[in-house]
Amino acid sequence: MTPIKIPSIALDAIGPEMVLTATAMVLLMIEVFADKKGRDHLGYIALGGSVLAGALAYKLSGVSVTTFGGLYVVDNFSTFFKIIFMISAGLTALISVKYAQDEGINHGEYYAMILFATVGMCVMASARDLITIFMGVEVMSIALYVLAGMTRTREVSNEASLKYFILGAFSSGFLLYGMALVYGATGTTQLQAIGKAAGLLTGNPMFIAGAVMMTIGFAFKVAAVPFHMWTPDVYQGSPAPVTAFMSTGPKAAAFAAFLRVFAEAFPAMKEDWWVIIWSLAVLTMTMGNVVALVQNDVKRMLAYSSIAHAGYILVGLAVASPAGSSGAAFYLLVYAFMNIGAFALLIVAAGKGERTTTYQDFSGMGRRSPLTALALTIMVFSLAGIPPTAGFAGKFYLFMSALEKGFVWLAVIAVINSVVSVFYYLKLVVYMYMRDEDGEARPEISVAAPLAVAAVVTVCAVMWLGVMPAKYIDFAKSAFLPF
């Protein structure tokens, strides 16, 4: 019998993924075998798993390996994104501890799903093959559908889960059909081989249709206008920590796969597809910001703001340069910190059952709980992009990459949009500091220890990345993709 040739497998390169999977399985076993008291530690175990996986990912920085027969690549780009995912997963676990106990969803499955989704995200960032990308997308998405409906007794949560599932499955269909057409046109699923074949295929209708459908599939996943319709309802209906997670980690993963596919498989179409991405970026940020202006509910406002931020990040894709891709990566890192921080403070303010999340509910917060109000102010300043916060550094670097490549109008529109966004972000600050309480009974604000830790960590990170961004921008610069 002839021995079967097994492709070289670098197990050390997938350390983060293995740690996450093992932690998730341990969580499931704790759920079924431990007593009720053992469940108190679930969140911290998930946090530990994410931190360990993040450390392993950080150790891989500078490493560049292609393994599993060319299906999987570990380079600085994937490592940078994996660190974002671990930050997102770890902080989500941290802000979930109190929330999960309050809402009765403190189960091993909850944290295990977060970690499984993170594994899927890592696969998306590292995949160098269409099939592997699709597998990562599904591993991530299926876990997220479950997470969105985790608070089973709340109707909006069920609605969010179902809506996300149906539209997510639909967008996966687009993505897969696009991949099938690209495979049909090029005869390969390997990204770089597609890139080589694509040079000879300019104008081939099957190839163009495939590329366009894959763009639609990714645009769904990153919630770009006009493929954003699911976002507000899903983000509002899902449990707040899950929304914080969905709007940071999975969004970053979708951008990672988006960037890698376009940089490695479709570079030949650069001249054509920047128009598409340009329009998507302008539509997304404008629509997200304008609709966020008229929202009355802070959670829904953050959902629309997340659409707007996807628009800013699309600027980095439209530019299609190394600076653009690393600018997008750095912005996603910043966004992970500031958005999860904002949601942590929203959880504090909303109280049990997420009943009080309108702007009115934040009135007088500056007096009722000065530290919470201060932290939330820093977060919204960062989201608005006001120096010296990280949001400013991220936007500056991202828009600079557009100017360098001569996308002046795109940069102008992006800056105008940032100005518009200041209105609805600062509205929150106005309510917190300049409106008196309206006399309605609101739950006492008490900050549980894990939430306080998460708030302190995110505030420090946002200030640190804002004041001393150079080192991290250099790291992001080393994580560029060759366009």
Binding site: M1, T2, P3, I4, I6, M25, L28, M29, E31, V32, F33
Partner: protein, 119 residues
Amino acid sequence: MILNQYIPVILMMLVAAGVAVAVLGLAEFLGPKVVFREKMEPFECGENPIVSPKQRFSVRFYLIALMFIIFDIEAVFLFPWAVNFQALGLFGFVEMMIFVFILALGLAYVWKKGALEWE
């Protein structure tokens, strides 16, 4: 264009559809029709329906079906592995044991959750 190669397939599909429609149409036009009450009732394995078919299925059926699929897939992977066991060597053995172990954890999970209990 390369689509030319598919013309026989399209013809085959058209012929197949044509035959199906023709046979059903002929039966409709030529066949004798005897209509009586029992014949017009909804068909349920030859039995008179005793309950409305619009009832809910227990969610357990879905659980069982899901678990069946998972272990079916496991078998799908196990067979080629077993056939090539010697060619794959120790590496293949360890990999497969990890795979089976992960599935066994899943089984332990559903078992302990009570998904296998019918009552």
